[in-house]
Amino acid sequence: MNFEYALLIPEFILAGAAAVVLLADAFRRDLGISRRLIPAIAALGALAAGIASLFYADRSTDFAGLIGVDDYTLFFRVLFTVTVLVVILGSLEFVERNIRHQGEFYALLLVSTIGAIYMAGARELLTAYISIELLSFSLYVAVSLAKDDRRSGEAGLKYVLLGGVASAMLLYGLSLIYGAAGTTSYEGIAAALGDSAVQGSPVLLIGLAFLVGGLGFKASAVPFHMWTPDAYEGAPLPVTAYIAATSKAATFALLLRLFGTGLLPVQDDWQWMLATLSVATMVTGNLIALVQTNIKRLLAYSSIGQVGFMLMAVTTVSDASGSALLLHLAGYLVTNLAVFIAVIAVYNRIGSERIEDFRGLAETQPYLALVITTGLFSLSGMPLLAGFVTKFFIFQAAAEEGFLWLSGVAVIMSTVSLYYYLKVIRMMYVVAPAEGEEGRWRPSLIAYGVTGVLFIGIFVVGLWAAPVLEVADDASAVLFG
């Protein structure tokens, strides 16, 4: 076994940065550090970790058979460090006003990124489980950190209780799979389950069902989505953005590696479960989104709808759908973060999350209105934008694997989603601004910068996806190549 701890350096950097942030925050007054320095340290740590992970390009080695340090992990290391960097930079002003214990907030974001990375990198059930818990624990706390908002604690409570139940279900499933396979490493499981004696046995089926339920909860797939709208609404906006981005992507990274390698031999036993979940998630998420009046809840249900599309890619697991899923995750992260960071910038100004209060944004702040509009169009899958290309690849891969009906449902639901996105866009462009609010205003310079980069990113993925797709292909080749 290979115990080269140097392979884990990017995560050591993240953990170290989190420790420095905590200490700097605790002794801020004694050391005379400005409050502004804390997010700067956190951002630098995330940046350094992202750069450090690039040194592991083209390596296909692992840590003691537990954590793969390959192109797949690299893809998510970069994706998650960039996400946390964007969230930190994009929410500076918001955090200063609306978050209790800022040092802890930034430290938790950094630590949770470690959990997310190892969810993608884990090649063994125990490592995967403990990484899930690291990410979840950080999020339970982060959700409850809003200042002067009673919804925050309530959202945290619901999240932690339902999360605990989901973890228990997941663990029970894992224990049954461990019992059926006799080992916890993905490779070992694949080898053991290749033996036809275990295939289709009730124990394995029940284990898979619990596993899908537990992971479905973390990914907020219907019917395990109950926590999502509440957690999204109660959480401070940057945390909502972070859950929507990192937590989802990490769960799918884990799902793809586990189901694409370890559980591939028993594909027939779990494919129908994921297909059912996928359809239920797409339909329910998009239909409930139609009646929402709070922008966070709207985005919550829209993200549930998106989860349906991603589940589709895991259902039809293959080389093509693997790289399509990775591409979709990258595009989805860029798009979703663009929308959220823009919404945060608007919230800093108007102090409201109601869609109604976004009226006339095109007049008072045309730039942010444009970013939100582009992002929402991309989420609904309009051509030229990221969402179109990435969804197209997923639908195509699914159709090729014989799931044409699933693709059909997905296309219909994409169209439905356009309707509620248009509601927001109409509010911004058609309705006049509220009385006395007609004047132009400007977001902070850093909000301009972050949303600008993401805005360009949406078009880059949409028009010139080839380089990203190439990287995604390399990453997916680790699993299926």
């Binding site: 059930l125 125990l126 489980y129 403990i130 818990e133 624990f137 339970y140 706390v141 409850s144 009673r150 919804r151 604690g153 309530e154 959202a155 945290g156 409570l157 619901k158 932690v160 209780l161 605990g164 139940v165 973890s167 228990a168 279900m169 663990l171 029970y172 894992l174 224990s175 049954l176 461990y178 019992g179 006799g182 080992t183 916890t184 109950m226 709208p229 509440d230 609404e233 109660g234």
Partner: protein, 104 residues
């Protein structure tokens, strides 16, 4: 060591898991839901250790897994109680139903 078939342990764990799940669904106090989750986790550890003791004689991964589960379960209780305390201070209740500002 003993001639008890593994099924005994597994069924015991299944029953314990069912009881825990009942508790999660039926209880309305946050602390009692936590108690029920602990029961479910205990069922899982029994499973893990039983499989390790019967089938995994070189590696004993299940026992290691159980150690991690116990650790995480204890940490989870602490964290959840922190959140319960905050809720209680804000609205003097530890009932899940009373915390209903967010609509389901």
């Amino acid at each position: 060591m003993s001639d008890i078939p593994i099924e005994n342990f597994l069924v015991l764990s299944a029953v314990l898991f069912g009881i825990g799940f009942y508790g999660v669904l039926a209880r309305r106090s946050a602390i009692l839901i936590l108690v029920s989750v602990e029961l479910m986790l205990a069922a899982t550890t029994i499973n893990m250790v039983a499989f390790a003791a019967y089938f995994d004689h070189e590696a004993f991964t299940g026992v290691i897994f159980a150690i991690f589960i116990i650790t995480v379960a204890a940490a989870e209780v602490g964290l959840a109680l922190g959140i319960v305390l905050r809720i209680f201070r804000e609205r003097r209740t530890a009932y899940v139903d009373d915390a209903s500002e967010l609509k389901w």
